[in-house]
Assembly symmetry: C2
């Protein structure tokens, strides 16, 4: 179905004037679905009109339900379907009659089950939609999250919009990715959980995001495609306009089988996908966390001109491991130049310090004002491309609570803002609840100051390497990864 | 210094009758050191006598200080030194006169600085110790944590003893590793942060742990050694008695340089280390988290007889990614046998489910009693070696708080205890604070029930593969990794 000129029809997904949610149950064990498909619109202030339809009438999610779609006053642009699969043909007929522009099917039980009759039912919906020009999203998907329009399906997603467009074949992974990325201080323009992709597919959505002025970077979780050649064209076009990062699910033999049963996708072999992504200039990642890391690097870190990296942080052993992480990711840690080293000795007392690269700034806990001098010194290091400031929050001898680590954090945070070399912060967060709570506070301080941060050195180093490769590949569109 | 017969002298480290802590400062910004070297002994109920020595007298950490070591009444077995480096020769002379058996130097500023005079000072200490027969731990280290004896250096380390012996060249990484492993419900017999290893080194400690009845598994963080040949012998002997897992810091070019400045270690090339570990049958890990994962697998999971794995969990996309993680780690996910599949269809409704391997048990949220039937079915699957039950806590449509996920967790937890196939739980914890808090609760429930758990599928799969390889290599001592 994908043609560039048809993409305007997707506007109904993101900017409907009227939404009707059909099939929300009044049963107590289904009440959570109202929190998905009513609460977010109310809380984010959906600008259009919102209706609930249920044959039994009554109140659902605090709203009076209409007993049928036809009873809803005025036109309806967009329908969210939660009716059982066998009722979907009737619903679609009702939608056509009502002049609905697009239907999203939360409803599952179609081609993903691997049962012939379910696949036939899906094909029937597609045929009906093609006849009427109505667009289908899903089935077997969560739908649309568009904070600018006040549309969503998870009550805890951020209410404020951002610059990332995400298309995601899995509803659960949409939650995982949005929450992981949001916790890093980033926000989304538009997010689409598109499931079985019986009509609107990843090519349509890529094309839409390329044209969408609110979207500066495109992220995707794909399980498969029905047209690899067209996908390559769409991706190549997309990357020539905006950076694209993709997490491919179903890479291994069993993963491919799993993708087939999850969203009915033809997953193809991983070698094929890898070639496709490389050819198109896509930055491929392997986990939702790596996706969040790359997006932080892409949107918040100034692109390094090379790979010469200095690691500065608290803790000897943590710095040794950090160094290994950096070099494994392909960053290089050159020794300190002599003139830098000789001046560093006046800034950091030598006992308990490592005055090489990495620089263990442990003694600066006792001389916090020297942090600024240390950053000034790094600014004077010719040929230095990147600084990673780190603190392994789980390492201190005292319980790793914020109060214990503050003397090592606050002067560092104030000083790094003056760093003229591209830089990022690394707060190694995960050890136990103490270090996690401390990291949440430090992460919040980083977000407030607009400073890019990562939660592991491994993640940071990989993201910085990908950022460098991405920018190095830009002019001639050669992917170095 | 290392000879097996000398190891009994190390008992003074773990079972001293008297400890004197020398050089604790009364300055407010050094008060935290009392929390390291006084508080843990008091809180864990050190069975011997504890003294504080400070030339200025006064009270430190709530204890009256003696003005010199000689004034301490009766013999002193073990001294913790926090005196500045240039005072250490005098302290060592005092220790010799007092008949002290072992001294731990928290004091830094020796060979790790790379400055000649500092290295000379360290050599002078070693020479003095060798003349008197006194043993030195460190310098530049945190010392001993032995909960059974009531000795420690971090007030938040667990008070109850366990079965893991840890030797760790970095003080900070000791904190990181102990906290990470403890958060998984495991405990330690004895932990030694040994720093520059000027006298007591990794070979001595390995030999000691081999003989130590309280230690069932040996874990180590090494930065280097001064005698690779002897280390190989010690490791080979150790692995023939107890499993040994090692995290090697300083693997890359800059990492090796960093290790040299951190603990003055000769780090050697990584290829060399890898060969040494393989030859000795050591299970090598790359991060503290991987070490925790392997220890959980080793100590809590029944060894699988093969690699045939079934993944069972909630969420389609999460299961697709889980499958990829498993197969990348070398586990295999065979398709469900037909007779299992046909019976599974009666247990799990097909809409929204994946009835292959992985099994997406999402519909069981509405039919919790079927979990038990599902586990019974897995028990009947001939040739199945391992089950990984997972829940990606960050994926649900509602905010991932415990109350939301409980219907997906509690019946699963009750049922898995009946699984007769080796199994583990995977609680993917890290998305945002909601999922972290939920995971803490679920982790706690797992610990209470004695169920092994991991916090990522990637970590779980890698640990299970290592567990299989470890056991497969046991008879002929051939390392398959």
């Amino acid at each position: 179905m994908s043609e560039y000129q048809e993409n305007s029809t997707l506007d109904h997904l993101f900017n409907p004037k009227t939404i009707a949610v059909v099939g929300l149950s009044t049963a107590p064990d289904k009440a959570w679905l109202s929190e998905c498909y009513i609460t977010p619109m109310l809380e984010m202030g959906f600008h259009g009109r919102l209706f609930v339809v249920n044959p039994k009438g009554g109140h659902i999610g605090g709203m009076a339900a209409y007993s049928s779609l036809q009873e809803v006053p005025g036109p309806v642009d967009y329908v969210v379907s939660l009716v059982p699969a066998h009722h979907t043909p009737q619903l679609l007929a009702d939608c056509t009659e009502k002049g609905v522009k697009a239907v999203q099917f939360y409803t599952a039980g179609f081609s993903e089950t691997g049962v012939d009759e379910d696949a036939h039912l899906q094909a029937q919906l597609v045929e009906m939609a093609q006849r009427s020009g109505l667009r289908l999203l899903g089935p077997n998907c969560m739908g649309i999250y568009c904070p600018k329009s006040g549309i969503g399906f998870c009550p805890d997603f951020p209410k404020e919009p951002g610059e990332i467009g995400l298309l995601c074949q899995s509803g659960g992974n949409t939650g995982h990715i949005v929450r992981t990325v949001a916790a890093r201080g980033l926000r989304f323009s538009k997010v689409v959980s598109y499931g079985n992709a019986c009509d609107i597919n990843e090519r349509d959505l890529l094309d839409y995001f390329v044209e969408d002025n609110d979207t500066q970077a495109i992220a995707a979780y794909l399980e498969g495609t029905t047209d690899g050649r067209r996908l390559l064209q769409c991706l190549t076009r997309a990357t020539s306009h905006k950076p694209v990062t993709i997490l491919k699910g179903g890479c291994t033999e069993a993963g491919i089988r799993a993708a087939a049963t999850h969203t009915g996708s033809l997953a193809g072999t991983d070698v094929l996908w890898d070639g496709l992504f490389k050819q198109a200039g896509v930055v491929r990642v392997s986990t939702p966390e790596e996706m969040a890391d790359f997006l932080v690097a892409l949107l918040q870190v100034r692109p390094p001109r090379g790979l010469n990296t200095c690691v500065v942080g608290i803790g000897g052993g943590a710095n040794v491991l950090a160094t290994d992480d950096c070099e494994r990711a392909g960053l290089t840690l050159p020794p300190l130049p002599d003139h830098i080293l000789s001046r560093l000795k006046h800034i950091i007392p030598r006992a308990g310090a490592m005055l090489r690269n990495p620089i263990d700034a442990f003694p600066l806990i006792g001389a916090p004002s020297n942090w600024r001098q240390l950053v000034d010194l790094l600014n004077e290091w010719e040929g230095l491309d990147l600084v990673l400031f780190q603190n392994a929050l789980g390492t201190p001898p005292l319980p790793p609570r914020y109060e214990s680590i503050a003397p090592a954090i606050e002067p560092m945070l104030s000083a790094v803002a003056e760093c003229r070399v591209p830089f990022a912060l690394v707060w190694h967060a995960i050890t136990n609840d103490d270090s996690w709570q401390a990291s949440l506070r430090v992460q919040g301080m980083s977000v407030d100051r607009g400073l890019p941060f990562f939660t592991s050195m491994r993640g940071a180093a990989l993201a910085m390497r990908r950022l460098f490769n991405h920018h190095a590949s830009m002019p001639g569109n050669v992917d170095l990864q």
